[in-house]
Amino acid sequence: MSRRSGRLQQSRDAGEFTRLTREEHLDQPGSFAIQTLNLRKVFGTKVAVSNLSLTVRRGEIFGFLGPNGAGKSTSIKMLLGLVKPSSGQAFVLGVPSDDVEVRGKMGFLPEDFRFYTWLTASELLRLHGRLCGMAAARLRERVPALLDLVGLTPHRGKRLRDFSKGMLQRIGLAQALIHEPELIFLDEPTSGLDPMGRRLVRDVIRAQRDRGATVFLNSHILSEIEITCDRVVFIKEGEVVASHDLRASPDGEVCLVARARNLSAETVAGLSQWSTSARLDGERLTLATHSTSVLPDILRYLVASGSDVFEFTPERLSLEDLFLKIMGEDRGL
């Protein structure tokens, strides 16, 4: 599992979204790709999204994380105008999310993409391009280019009914990009894809960022998110509970694994001045600290206390570790 740098912020100080007032949202709706304020959706008596307030900067790759039933899909649907919020506000690209015209600047790959199976791959892309208002001449260039991008050129004349799940996911990605949108929502884009397909999706997402587009990514594959995203938020019970900047400086919570001899119980107890937890298991010492800046002090302390240190390895919390830490134990659905 990859270990990477990052900075975790709890929701009370989790970036700009909690500090923005309603007036600020309304005054500068165009400065972000996405802004929501106290967004709420209730189906009957079930609260799907309780109070979602977040911002997504233009040009960033944004990860939207949460356990099953956290309200992620409903939130995305509200941002796309598919579901009407019960209360609260949502802006995309500076206009209310139910604006029809703004959808011409947005692309969407639904989870488990399905479409008319009687269409061929080329026909599907042409249809979606026409629905986005693209001219025939432009489509003649874009359709082959996109089929090539997602590796489906040899299957351009094949009907969707003969496509595998992975091929459907690829053509779904292509339809989301056909009109070169400014904001792209990808809901589980790598589900059903083989490793080559996942690599392709990663490359496509980065290419979109390079051309200035914003990508809103929802995925359960945290290793993918970790590699791809600039920033993530964690959502629980329809509310943002934490934000994590994946491109921030490497300082932050770190787990340290050391192997040493002659470690006494007193020495381990003395680590409490830097460590939130320390556990000795034979020669293996595991402890957690809040900052990498204390690592030299810990090493000096161990050597000074007479221990023979053979190994001293700081390991950052992975996104999966963070996810589990924030979301807690799985108590079932």
Partner: protein
């Protein structure tokens, strides 16, 4: 523009999935059977040396049977092909990829409606033309006001189509099918009750029939179409399986048009309001 794209897709879907061709093939089989029946009827009538007037009326009655069957086939085909188009795409999530494009929901619905309307128009034209051609070339008879009759049957199908759309925005495919077939069945039975009421001079039965026509005017439109297609002699008979003891008035046709328009508005309103 979005509505026209959706109409084109819907019509192409009917052709590509062989829905329209299968329906027309089944219709051709029906026409062949109908032509065979009429051919033998002519032979028997000729053998019996019936007077020309009686011969004409028998052939016209046979023609009426043909139009009645076409009406039934057209209504059933309209329901079966359109019952899944909204509720099915909503349930499967297919609609999400379309509804997130820069076209209004009313355009999606109107486009689909126009596509199906085009398909129904093709079917009704082909089948009406086929029955009329069989009547003319084999039986030597032409129905009265065939264009008016075809337009009324087309109106009936549009009415059923629109109610199917309106229910499809709220209910699942199966529930939608049950509701629309139930409504058409109610109108059918109501029409017969009204006929019997008119024949037996029972105002209460007529009222029951009229009320059922107000709930679902599809059968009334067919009875008006049937009235338009009949010869004056058949009309005078007043009661046979395909004649009318009481023909619905032009006002009822007007009511059906208003009903269709209101159902379309209801469908658009529900589709715009609902979560997808």
């Amino acid at each position: 523009m979005g509505a026209w794209i959706m109409a084109g897709v819907t019509f192409r879907e009917a052709a590509r999935r062989k829905i329209l061709w299968t329906a027309l093939l089944a219709g051709s089989a029906f026409l062949a059977l109908f032509g065979t029946g009429m051919h033998f009827q002519i032979k028997d009538i000729t053998r019996q040396s019936l007077p020309p007037f009686i011969r004409y009326q028998l052939e016209a009655a046979m023609l009426q049977v043909g139009f009645y069957a076409v009406d039934l086939l057209a209504v059933v085909m309209t329901i079966l092909t359109s019952v899944d188009t909204l509720s099915g795409e909503i349930a499967s999530g297919t609609i999400q990829a379309i509804a997130t494009k820069p076209i209004s929901r009313w355009q999606i619905l109107a486009g689909k409606w126009m596509g199906f309307a085009g398909m129904v128009a093709t079917y009704v034209s082909a089948m009406f033309g086929g029955v009329a051609a069989v009547g003319y070339f084999i039986g030597g008879v032409l129905p009265h006001h065939v264009l008016r009759g075809a337009l009324l049957v087309f109106l009936e199908c549009l009415l059923v189509l629109t109610v199917t759309f309106a229910c499809g925005t709220r209910f699942s495919t199966l529930t939608n099918g049950v509701i629309v077939l139930g409504l058409h069945g109610l109108a059918f039975i109501g029409g017969w009750i009204e006929q019997i009421g008119a024949m037996t001079n029972s105002p209460r039965l007529i009222t029951v029939g009229v009320v059922s026509s107000l709930i679902m005017p599809s059968e009334s439109v067919w009875r008006r179409a049937s009235f338009e297609l009949q010869s004056s002699f058949t009309r005078a008979l007043q009661f046979s399986p395909f004649s009318n003891a009481s023909a619905p008035s032009a006002a009822m046709v007007g009511y059906a048009i208003v009903y269709l328009f209101v159902a379309l508005m209801v469908a658009i309103y529900h589709f715009q309001q609902r979560d997808l």
